[in-house]
Every structure is written in structure tokens, then in C-alpha cells.
Amino acid sequence: MIRMQPSVESTQAIADSDAIAVERTLAGDRDAYRVLVERHSHNIFRLAYRMTGNRHDAEEVVQEAFLRGYQKLGQFAARSNFGTWVYRIAANYAIDRMRQRQKEEARREMPRTEDQDGMENDPLTRVKDEAPTPERLTQSVELRKQMEQALAALTESERTAFVMRHWEGCGIEEIAAVLKSSSNATKNTVFRAVQKLRHALQPLVETRAQARAMGTES
């Protein structure tokens, strides 16, 4: 799993501090909400980016999640964890955004260009790889493209289940709550997602491994 797991003590300390910030916000101290936004924005952005696949939508999801969180804060149960709660709001909104995006893409006549996904593709902000060989560059770019396409080909539920389980390390119950599904159905969704990704990517991954073994790729 990629998600860094904080210690139990620090998780508890953050949750306690969050609970105080929530109470103060509900009492009318709007700046207390700023603490929550600044603390959880990065986590939500990471989730949103992995779900939507582009920075533009990810940033919208982050903003919308905190706006909705603020509006619904009166419904937030004090004993819950604010981080988990707003995370769930973000995941739900990201699913809606992915659905909208799919409809838009289906209707859009113009093909998408490589450059349309936002700042991460901007030559100014792109991090330069150290001395890539032409083969390595071609293969890694091709693989990245294929991986993005394979992720984009998943259904919203599959992508959500895969991102939340594989990359974010969320529990099945938590994912099931977002997908409004049962635990068993959610496990099946995780399976289907990995299976689809595997079938789409395995040939390319194996070719790359062979090339590496033969020394044509560093």
C-alpha cells in the first residue's frame, strides 16, 4: 500500500484536534475550519487525483468536498473522524465527477490531446528524468499511457474500489459505504478492477521486463 500509515497515537491526536476544530466551527469560528482544510487537503487531493486522473478535476473535488463538508457539518457526528468523513464526501463527489466526465467525453467530438490534463503535463512543471535513453523514454511513456488508459477504462465503481483499496489502503467496509454496496460485492469489484488492469497491462509489463533483462532498457 502506498498510503503512509500514521501511528495510532498521532492518528488519535489529529482526530482529537479535529474534533475541537469541528466544535469551534459549529460555534461560529469560521477560521477553525481553515485548520481542517489545511490539514486534510493533501490527502483529499491525492485520492481525488487517483480517482479522476487529472489535476483539474481533482482540485474541483477537493474544494467541493470541503464546501459540502462545511454545509453538512451540523450532521457530522462528534465521535466520528473528520478526516474519514470528508474523505468519503470527496470520494462520492469524485464518482459524480467521473460520471459527468464520461458523458462529456462520449459526446465530445474532438479527440483529447496529451496536453489537456492540466499542469502536470506542462513542460514548465514536468520533472525531468535523469538521462533517459531513447528506448527507456519510449517504453516508459508508452507504459504510462497504457496504464492511464487501463485505469480510465474501469467503471467508476471499479476505479473507486481499486484506488481506495490498493493505493489508499482503505478497509472494505469503508469502500462499501462509498459505493453503497455490500462487503462481498465490494471485494468482487476490487477483483474485477485488478483483473481488468492485469489483462490490459500484463503483455506490456512483460515486454518491458524482457527488454530490461536483455539490457536494452536501463
Binding site: M1, I2, T25, L26, G28, R30, Y33, R34, V37, E38, R39, H40, S41, H42, F45, Y49, R55, H56, E60, Q63, F66, L67, Y70, Q71, K72, G74, Q100, K103, E104, R107, R108, T113, D115, Q116, G118, M119, E120, D122, L124, T125, L143, R144, M147, E148, L151, R165, H166, W167, I172, K187, V190, F191, V194, Q195, L197, R198, L201, Q202, V205, R208
Partner: protein
């Protein structure tokens, strides 16, 4: 020996298998299943190399800056959102348009047969058309100014685009509102152009106040490559034509939405 299924191996890899110990023991003993498991691992390891861009250390602060003006004084009271100055201004404009549409309707009523009276849907769409037209006009002007911005001479190392940046921030909020409304109305063509415009506005709004000539050129190139100015002009012109040809209001058959969806 009974081999593990793909489902069991994936469940094991993703930590959701029920009989972990059994699978673990089997993998240690069975070369075939071990190989299959490694192939699954290789694909997932490749996927793990996909990076998430770092939004920056001040990202939380930027999110707060974006959402703070849209928050009510106290949370949980939805109706307070309608009393924000920006929303009040927008609501005022909409009320004025409704009144204008009502008055126009009163006059056309005398001239036209009853079956030509604009229905609610037409009025709503007309309001959207007028408001979006204005928004596109403002966006176009900002983008033209930005596209024409240039350093005063080769010695100038930074160009101040803070005015355009602030305008982009304001336009961004409106744009989101209109895009969502267009989607709700089923006007996907308009929503699509607004979505593309939003990406450009977002880039401009997140640019630094002062940019180097190279950064300015990159922004200008991005505007040009996306052809956003052209698309904005086409949609705006099309909206204006629709507005002009709607007097007196024709019967609504959904053709306007279909036409815009082609853009």
C-alpha cells in the same frame, strides 16, 4: 494439487482474502501459483509507479483561499449561502432578467397567439443564455489581454499578470456555476466548452502574480493550443444568434441544445 484461482490470488494480494494462511502456505509450495502471483505483482508494481503530482506545500492554504468566500458565517445553514454578496448580485441579475422576460412576455402576448407564450423552460434557458453570454464575453476579454501581454523590453525579467489572475479567480467561480447548470439542463455542448474554459481559468488563477517571459509564453501557448478563444467566440456568437432569433420566442423542440452540443 488444487491450484489457487485468480480471484483468490488477487484477494490475497489486496489483503481481502479470507483464508490468508492457506493461500500463503500454498504459494510457498506451488511454483505455478507462485509464478501467477508474481505476474499479478508485476502489474500492480508498474501501476505504483504512476505518480500523483505534488500540489505544493501551500496547497491547503490555496484551497482555503478558494472556498473561504463561499462559506457561510456559520456551517450547516444552507439558506445563509444565499446572502453572500456574490450570490446576492447573481440573484439580483437573475431577478432583473426574469422581470424583463415577464415584461417582454406581456407585450408579445398581445401580438402573438396564446400557443407562442414562452414556457418556463424557455425563460430559464433564456436566462442561462444571457448570463453565460456575458460570462463568455468577460472571459474572452481577459484571455485576449493575457494573450497580448508581453514584456516591455528584453531587459524586463518579470511580467505582472495579477489583474488577469484576479479576474480569472472571479470568472472561475461563475464558470463552475454555469457549467453545472448547463449539465443539469442537458446542454452538454455548452458544458463541455465551459469545462475547457475552466481548465484555462484554473491555470491562470494559479499562476504566480509575476511571471517570467518564458512562463508567460507557456501560458499563451496553452491558450492557443487549446483553441479556447476560438471556441468561446463560436459559442458566444451562437448564443447571441439564438437570443436574437428567439424574438418572438419560437416553440421549444430541443433543437437549440442539440445544435450547441455539436460545438
Amino acid at each position: 494439487m488444487k491450484h489457487m484461482t485468480e480471484e483468490e490470488l488477487i484477494a490475497y494480494r489486496e489483503g481481502v482474502a479470507e483464508q490468508r494462511a492457506v493461500i500463503s502456505e500454498h504459494l510457498a509450495a506451488c511454483e505455478e501459483c507462485g509464478g501467477e502471483f508474481e505476474r499479478i505483482e508485476a502489474v500492480l508494481a508498474a501501476l505504483d509507479t504512476l505518480r500523483v503530482p505534488e500540489p505544493g506545500t501551500d496547497y491547503g492554504r490555496r484551497v482555503w483561499k478558494e472556498i473561504a468566500p463561499r462559506l457561510a458565517e456559520k456551517p450547516g445553514r444552507w439558506w445563509q449561502l444565499w446572502f453572500e454578496p456574490r450570490r446576492l448580485a447573481a440573484a439580483g441579475a437573475i431577478v432583473a432578467l426574469i422581470v424583463a422576460a415577464f415584461i417582454a412576455g406581456r407585450f408579445t402576448k398581445r401580438l402573438n397567439p396564446p400557443d407562442n407564450i414562452a414556457n418556463k423552460e424557455q425563460v430559464r434557458e433564456r436566462i442561462l443564455v444571457v448570463a453565460v453570454g456575458e460570462h463568455l464575453g468577460h472571459s474572452e476579454r481577459m484571455l485576449v489581454e493575457l494573450s497580448n501581454a508581453a514584456p516591455n523590453g528584453p531587459a524586463q525579467k518579470e511580467v505582472n499578470i495579477s489583474a488577469e489572475q484576479r479576474r480569472a479567480e472571479d470568472l472561475l467561480q461563475e464558470n463552475r456555476l454555469y457549467r453545472q447548470t448547463a449539465l443539469q439542463e442537458g446542454d452538454t455542448g455548452l458544458a463541455s466548452v465551459l469545462d475547457e474554459l475552466e481548465r484555462v481559468l484554473l491555470d491562470v488563477a494559479h499562476s504566480p502574480d509575476e511571471v517570467t517571459p518564458a512562463q508567460l509564453e507557456a501560458i499563451q501557448r496553452k491558450i492557443e493550443q487549446r483553441g479556447i478563444l476560438f471556441k468561446v467566440r463560436v459559442v458566444n456568437k451562437e448564443l447571441q444568434q439564438r437570443q436574437d432569433t428567439r424574438e418572438p420566442a419560437p416553440a421549444q423542440d430541443g433543437s437549440t441544445k442539440r445544435e450547441r452540443n455539436k460545438v
